[in-house]
């Protein structure tokens, strides 16, 4: 059977899903954690606790800001607030965070900590929306967009399909894969909750074909739930990008500058679906997530259920390993779109999907040469842009021409830089151009 996929662009980096067989383990808590107050897209949250306050797991520590796009943040440990201060984050620049000294592991009474499944959905759609907002659920696919906003119907736009993103197209990452294998029932109920909230009858789960066990698992379970369909997809990066996923599953193309809601679709990551189940049925705010720790030189890899705010170094300790000799790059996220870290002491946030340790043989890029106009970058761009031209224009700071060539459509997937035979830093300059074009557009308004 021919597998569905998007038809324009895409590359095939080696999958390296070397941690796919390792079940999720629960990671313990350290003595001190540090929760940044800006872990989501939009305005940072505003702290509502002070130094010396006692908190439990699930206590609200930062409320969503006054801006429309913002989210709540809850404590993931019990203990005392040590300080609210500027702390070094992944980039080496400082950002505000709440630092808590851990004492014990007490949870808020309202949270249902039992293991049993809660299949009945008692809340009405508006109440579900309020619950998701209250519990601080954000998109766990990496973009960390506050989840409740996607369900708000506005301007008369209504949705007819829910898409669940189980593609996990980035190499090395396996957290979504393990979730689909181990928490299948909860995911199904989560999907039903989302269908009720968004008032849609149809849900489609897209999974890449390199996860056959997950596809089988979900397909068997989906037979018991009306309206939920599992569709396997061809392995191609960036299959998991929302525009490409919707095109592959439903053959609808989101126009430039518009949202999935404009083609009648609500889309969420599988991890977010689980978080919504736990928020609505178990009253549990978003305080932990599954993170993959992997790397070719590591003797063991792992998928851990980690509390938000735990330093990444704890993941390595939990594996019982030291940083391998020759490690030259530490990546938060996947190798195509992730961030390079300058140490392992940074906290895990809601958007961290994996930590990859890279060896020095792969860490440095090749020397760039002149662009040879081979047009490979054009053939792989999923958005149909011309990366070679955007790079040239951004380098010469001709930002008005960048805007005319739709540089803002770029989703920074990295396919162009990946495939360039001349090893040119295409995405670096495109990002530079994008930042400046958006600044110019803001100044215009």
């Amino acid at each position: 059977m021919k597998l569905r996929t998007f038809n324009q662009g895409g590359v095939h980096p080696p999958e390296n899903k070397i941690s796919a067989d390792i079940p999720i383990k629960i990671l313990g808590v350290p003595q001190q954690i540090c929760i940044p107050i800006h872990q989501h897209l939009g305005a940072p949250a505003v702290p509502v606790v002070e130094k010396g306050d006692k908190v439990k797991v699930g206590t609200l520590i930062a409320k969503k800001g006054t801006a429309f796009i913002s989210a709540n943040i809850h404590s993931s440990v019990s203990g005392t607030v040590a300080k609210i201060d500027d702390v070094l984050d992944a980039t080496g620049y400082k950002n505000k965070a709440v630092v808590i000294n851990v004492e014990g592991d007490e949870w808020e009474d309202t949270i249902d900590r039992s293991d049993h499944l809660v299949p009945e959905i008692k809340l009405e759609p508006e109440e579900i929306l309020k619950k998701i907002e209250e519990m601080g659920v954000v998109g766990l696919g990496g973009a960390t967009f506050p989840a409740h906003i996607k369900y708000m119907v506005s301007n008369g736009r209504k949705s007819d399909t829910l898409v669940v993103n189980g593609a996990e197209c980035e190499p090395f990452l396996t957290s979504d894969h393990r979730l689909m294998l181990e928490r299948t029932d909860e995911i199904m109920i989560g999907i039903q909750i989302m269908m009720k909230s968004g008032q849609v009858d149809r849900a489609v789960i897209g999974i890449e074909s390199n996860k056959p066990d997950a596809i089988e698992n979900l397909r068997i379970k989906a037979q018991q739930f009306p309206g939920i369909e599992v569709i396997p997809l061809k392995v191609k990066y960036p299959q998991g990008a929302e525009k490409q996923l919707i095109k592959a599953l439903l053959n609808r193309e989101i126009p430039s500058g518009k949202l999935p809601l404009d083609v009648g679709v609500i889309i969420n990551n599988v991890g977010t679906v689980l978080a919504i189940y736990e928020a609505v049925q178990k009253n549990k705010p978003l305080i932990e997530r599954v993170v993959t720790i992997t790397g070719k030189k590591l003797k063991t890899k792992g998928n851990f259920l980690v509390r938000i705010g735990v330093p990444a170094a704890m993941l390595l300790e939990a594996l019982g390993e030291e940083i391998p000799e020759g490690t030259s790059k530490i990546i938060s996220g996947g190798p195509m779109m992730g961030k390079a870290l300058n140490s392992l002491d940074i906290p895990i946030t809601k958007g961290t999907s994996g930590i990859i340790l890279m060896d020095e043989s792969e860490a440095w890029r090749r020397e760039p040469v002149n662009c040879i106009r081979c047009a490979k970058c054009i053939s792989v761009c999923p958005m149909g842009l011309e990366p070679y031209l955007l790079e040239k224009l951004a380098e010469r700071e001709m930002f008005d021409r960048c805007e005319a060539n739709a540089i803002t459509d770029c989703m920074e997937c990295g396919s162009c830089s990946y495939i360039c035979p001349a090893a040119r830093p295409l995405l670096d300059y495109i990002r530079y151009g994008k930042v400046n074009v958006m600044r110019i557009m803001r100044e215009r308004r």
């Binding site: 980039t91 080496g92 620049y93 400082k94 030259s328 390079a340 300058n342 860490a363 440095w364 890029r365 830093p425 670096d428 300059y429 990002r431 530079y432 930042v435």
Partner: protein
């Protein structure tokens, strides 16, 4: 006369005459009136088209000068490469008084050489300071210091700044710099400042932009300013040119007399100057009277 020659001469003559008339009429119809003062002022300007005045090229500046002269006040306009002489000549032509302005120069306020602020991380990407600055805090860990990738060198049209290979810091050439301000705008960390050249080229400045607390700043760079305030105290009472704010000292160039007294008292050595500072006189040793011992006899 041969009829052919006569006919040719008349035809060509008629063509030439009509062409001349058409050109004359067109020139009159499409004539653009330009204030003749602009051309005269253009001759007085250096003609480097550097943009340091803030206008597009010398012609743009000349037009702005004429407009301002009609309003009666050209004090806001300044040509950095031309300096006081050019502005004086322009003022004389336009018949407006121009105040003397001090010669200025670009000053790099960072002392984080390769040796004093050793790199802890490697940067792999295009050699552009703006991109590196947006990505992370820098190879040596200081979020305020020079990145050494040379955006300032690339933008200078006077060849007045170059990157020192040993220290990875930019060096400004005093003879060539006209203080046009291009490097100031190019630096994403705002390390370069336009300061007066000072009497006989003597000037003192704090060679640091780090606003972190002292201990944190010193972890990354040995010559960072730790905001201890010793220089503030040392600056003579009447002058008081140094102020402290955000864990960083700052020398006001308009007040500083370049005496150099603050330089040796700085514990980290983060104050720089264009001359060797006078060493403080060693405190006079007290006469050490040996304890008289009664010699027991």
């Amino acid at each position: 006369m041969d009829p052919v020659i006569l006919r040719s001469a008349l035809t060509l003559g008629a063509v030439a005459l009509s062409a001349a008339v058409i050109l004359f009429l067109v020139a009159k119809r499409f004539k653009v009136y330009e204030d003749p003062r602009i051309e005269r002022i253009l001759e007085l300007l250096p003609g480097a088209n550097c943009g340091g005045c803030g206008y597009p090229g010398c012609r743009g500046f000349a037009e702005a000068l004429v407009k301002a002269a009609d309003e009666g006040d050209i004090s806001a306009l300044k040509c950095p490469p031309g300096g006081s002489d050019t502005m004086a000549a322009v003022g004389k032509y336009l018949g407006i008084e121009v105040a003397e302005s001090l010669p200025t120069i670009a000053v790099v306020c960072c002392g984080g050489t390769l040796e004093k602020a050793p790199p802890k991380l490697g940067y792999d990407g295009p050699a552009k300071c703006t991109i590196s600055h947006a990505l992370f805090n820098g190879e040596n860990g200081c979020a305020y210091g020079c990145l050494g990738l040379g955006d300032c060198v690339a933008v200078c049209t006077f060849d007045a700044i170059y990157m020192d290979e040993q220290t990875h810091l930019p060096v400004v050439l005093e003879e060539k710099c006209v203080a046009c301000g291009a490097c100031v705008k190019a630096c994403p960390r705002h390390i370069i400042e336009i300061r007066p050249k000072g009497k006989k080229g003597r000037r003192v400045w704090i060679n640091c932009m780090n606003k972190e607390k002292g201990a944190v700043a010193r972890k990354n760079c040995k010559v960072a300013c730790i905001g201890c305030g010793k220089c503030v105290k040392e600056c003579p009472e009447k002058i008081q040119a140094i102020t402290l704010g955000n864990n960083l000292a700052y020398i006001d160039p308009d007040k500083c007399i370049a005496c150099g007294k603050c330089i040796p008292v700085c514990p980290t050595g983060s104050i720089a100057a264009t001359f060797t500072p006078p060493q403080p006189k060693p405190k006079p040793q007290k006469e050490h009277k040996p304890e008289t011992q009664e010699v027991s006899q």
